[in-house]
């Protein structure tokens, strides 16, 4: 490194870099210029919040020698961002954070893209989904709400969610199947907007992620009925009165047999080397040790599963199959 930098001349530096890249990988790879962090979603949503938190943590704790720059590419339900990463073959200075649109966008829109076009790096966490109603509604439990839906004619109850043919609507369709009643699904641009529409009484319920609605719960505006996971959440910090995330029952235990978790993972462009992937796996392992990350996990009641390598790939394979099945059943596949 020193040898190269003493020259300082453009051409020679470039030459030096080429020479360096040809050296055997004795020293671990490190980024040499700012790394682009693509967010395939708009500003302010869950993925964006997480990416910006990561950027902040990495900058604050000096975990990377160069800068991490967050760029939103939300066009075509995130397709724009994924295609951008896909087309940057072999570029190690680009990473992308994913949400469920990694699977749903290509299926719903027919965009030529599959997660196998990217290099999986790591699963950072899984995001939970919670069934919410307005705190002024009479339904204290999921059972009461389910009974009300069942007792009313089809399409009486309005479910709000983020986007169309994405995770929120997939869950809604699964809920409809479980209850044998149709609901009216109304898509909005972002999760924060959905939560506020629910507070304003313009919809009857939502399946917001915990972090999108927790402040409304703390303010006693929204009430969580159940969580779409196989077991209750582990977080016991008090949120409203004596209630904490751990006091929210699973939907399954409330007679609503629906489970869904959303991937918050990191991918790189195709054709990057193993050292380059390893660098980012290590980076995110360090991030997980910081107090800011732990706080984010707690605030958002995330499922803190961490995976990388083959284990992660196997998980992705299975999750893709699940999504395909769910979307096929719901009739969400492009061309159908």
């Amino acid at each position: 490194m020193k040898y190269v930098s003493t020259f300082g001349l453009g051409a020679l530096t470039a030459l030096g870099m080429t020479a360096m890249s040809m050296l055997p990988a004795s020293a671990a790879w490190e980024p040499t210029k700012p790394v682009e962090f693509i967010v395939p979603a708009g500003t302010g949503g869950g993925a964006d919040q997480m990416a910006r938190t990561l950027q902040g943590i990495i900058a604050k704790h000096n975990l990377m020698s160069t800068q991490l720059v967050v760029i939103n590419k939300s066009g075509g339900a995130g397709g724009e961002g994924f295609l951008d990463v896909k087309s940057n073959k072999g570029n190690p200075h680009k990473i992308v954070i994913t949400l469920s649109n990694l699977f749903t966008t290509p299926l719903a829109t027919g965009i030529p893209f599959n997660w196998k076009d990217l290099t999986p790096v790591a699963m950072l966490a899984l995001d939970e989904f919670v069934l919410w109603v307005n705190a002024q509604e009479p339904y204290k439990t999921a059972q009461e709400y389910e009974a009300a839906i069942k007792a009313a004619p089809d399409n009486t109850f309005k479910m709000g969610g983020t986007g169309s043919k994405q995770e929120d609507q997939i869950i809604t369709v699964a809920v409809e199947k479980a209850l044998g009643k149709k609901m009216t699904y109304i898509p909005y641009k972002g999760g924060g907007e959905v939560a506020v529409q629910l507070v304003g009484g313009h919809i009857n319920s939502s399946v917001n992620n915990p972090i999108e609605a927790v402040s409304q719960w703390r303010g006693d505006k929204l009430r969580p009925l159940c969580v779409f996971d196989s077991k209750p959440l582990p977080y016991t910090d008090k949120i409203l009165g004596d209630l904490s995330w751990s006091s929210v029952p699973t939907c399954k235990s409330a007679g609503l047999d629906v489970e869904y978790l959303m991937l918050r993972g990191i991918f790189m462009p195709p054709g990057v080397s193993e050292e380059q992937v390893a660098y980012f796996v290590e980076l995110f392992k360090k991030v997980r040790e910081t107090p800011e990350w732990k706080q984010l996990m707690k605030d958002g009641a995330f499922n803190q599963t961490f995976m990388s390598g083959d284990e992660f790939k196997a998980w992705l394979d299975q999750s893709e199959a699940t999504h395909k099945g769910l979307m096929q059943e719901a009739g969400f596949i492009a061309g159908n």
């Binding site: 902040g56 604050k60 829109t109 169309s164 898509p187 924060g192 009484g201 313009h202 402040s215």
Partner: protein
């Protein structure tokens, strides 16, 4: 009353925090950075704040948000500069400012236009801050009443107050607006999750970004027109008068009614949160209708600068309130700030005012101080910016082209957008030569998507019945206003005919 008194006590403490010398210094730095960001089209306040966000993690949350919000104010101020000087709106809400601001610059009154724009910005923002101070909790409640139907009604009102206001024949206005709607429809349809009008071209996934269209239609189109007219900026004759600020100020109180109306429109739009863009268009449209100089709007009428700038800034400032009180960002910049709040461990939402009172009132106090600091800073730059127009066109045009290209590239980091900008430039030139108004096209590109979305969300909710737009007092009254605004030109024409008929032709 009790609540208001309590707010004042809290605000007083807030001033103590915000007037710390370090915080005042941050304000000045923030405003200057913001102005630079605002001048470069495409970079925009959201990007500026996002880039600088990580730098603030070592500061206290209050200092950090003071710096970032001041960048936001600065960008709001700066957006007016390019609109007036070069007809390039750097932000969506500066579009309406170009309608009269640029003609003023071309007739040698750039200094006046800039002074009017900055001063109006200040007035609008100040009005909104006072409103936040007095009735923050009530206002948050009001925002909650806006569902899809109410939002559509607001967009409808924005379109309606704009129809028939241009000098061009109504048919041309409609054609122009429809082109805008068609362009806005490209990309993902949010309601069905399907791609529309992309023809398999992946570059079109994102649709047509408003900024690309505007930089092309206005900026490049303007340069093409000027080239045809003989490579000359008519603003060249502008005399640089250091007293221009003072002189303009003396004329401004005359427009207090326009200001007040625009302030109210702005606050309302900012809270709902329809945003600053419809606010600026609506305020301009209404001012044109109501003002006795209305006929001269579009030819360089100072009132045509005052109305949209006041409304845009009242809205931009008022939009901070839903962000803090409800956790819903009213603008992309506010969304980035929201991300910052979360890292500082502050959870925006109904409890923020209760749990983090010191932070909230420090921020509100900094809005007062930041705007005053900002106004003083930008006003001193007026003669400087106005003198840019004295540079020969053959030198300044390539510079503008480069700035436009960089701006278009920065929006999505995409070279395709630069090409699109060129295409829009040619389109803008052709439309201008054939006397099609550009404003309705731009309005449709900006608001077309949101209006369509709100319309379809409302109909989904109502099971397809249009009665949802008359289902409660709030939505009916906004729709009613919209209908009146839409048919106003017809009423006006009828009245004119009645008046004109007794006179011999």
């Amino acid at each position: 009353m009790n609540m208001i008194a309590e707010n004042f006590t809290l605000l007083y403490h807030g001033f103590g925090i915000a007037s710390d010398p370090f915080n005042i210094l941050l304000m000045a730095i923030g405003i200057l950075l913001g102005v630079i960001i605002g001048v470069l089209p495409g970079l925009g306040g959201a990007n500026g704040v996002a880039i600088l966000l990580p730098l603030t993690f070592s500061m206290s949350p209050t200092s950090a948000i003071i710096l970032l919000t001041c960048i936001y104010w600065g960008a709001l101020f700066g957006g007016a500069i390019t609109s007036v000087l070069f007809n390039i709106p750097g932000e969506p809400w500066s579009v309406a400012t170009t309608f009269d601001g640029h003609p003023m610059a071309r007739s040698g009154r750039a200094g006046e236009a800039l002074t009017a724009a900055f001063t109006s910005s200040f007035v609008g923002a100040f009005f909104a801050i006072v409103m936040i101070t007095l009735i923050a909790p009530l206002v948050a409640q009001f925002a909650l009443q806006f569902g899809p139907a109410e939002k559509f009604a607001v967009y409808f009102l924005a379109f309606a107050s704009f129809v028939g206001m241009s000098k061009e024949p109504p048919a041309k206005t409609v054609v122009s607006m429809m082109i805008g709607f068609a362009l806005a429809a490209v990309g993902l349809d949010m309601v069905t999750g399907q791609l529309r009008l992309t023809f398999g071209v992946t570059e079109l996934l994102n649709g047509f970004d408003f900024l690309i269209a505007v930089i092309g239609l206005f900026g490049i189109g303007e340069i093409l027109l000027t080239m045809e007219e003989g490579l000359e900026f008519r603003g060249k004759a502008a005399k640089i008068d250091p007293k221009v600020v003072w002189k303009t100020w003396k004329t401004l109180p005359r427009y207090w009614m326009t200001s007040l109306r625009s302030c109210i429109i702005g606050c309302w739009m900012g809270i709902t949160p329809a945003g600053a863009t419809p606010a600026s268009f609506m305020a301009y449209g209404i001012a044109k209708r109501v003002s006795k100089n209305g006929k001269n709007f579009g030819n360089g009428e100072i009132e045509g600068v005052v109305a949209p700038e006041t409304a845009a800034h009242a809205a931009g400032t008022a939009a901070m309130l839903p962000m803090l009180a409800l956790g819903v960002p009213g603008s992309p910049t506010a969304a980035v700030l929201l991300g910052g709040l979360l890292i500082w461990g502050l959870q925006p939402g109904p409890m923020l005012f209760v749990e983090q009172g010191e932070f909230v009132w420090g921020l509100i106090a900094s809005m007062y101080l930041g705007n005053i600091v900002g106004l003083i800073l930008v006003l001193t730059t007026v003669p400087l910016f106005a003198s840019i127009l004295r540079i020969p066109f053959s030198i300044i045009a390539p510079v503008i082209l480069v700035i436009c290209a960089i701006g278009a590239y920065t929006v999505n980091n995409n070279v395709f957008d630069v090409l699109m900008m060129m295409v829009f430039g040619v389109l803008g030139y052709l439309l201008k030569k054939t006397n099609y108004p550009l404003a309705p096209l731009v309005l449709a590109i900006v608001l077309g998507d949101s209006a369509e979305e709100a319309f379809r969300q409302s109909l989904l909710g109502s099971g397809g019945s249009l009665s949802v737009f008359w289902s409660n007092g709030l939505v009916s009254s906004i729709m009613g206003l919209g209908v009146i605004a839409a048919i106003w030109p017809l009423i006006g024409m009828a009245l004119n005919k009645l008046k004109a008929s007794p006179q011999p032709a």
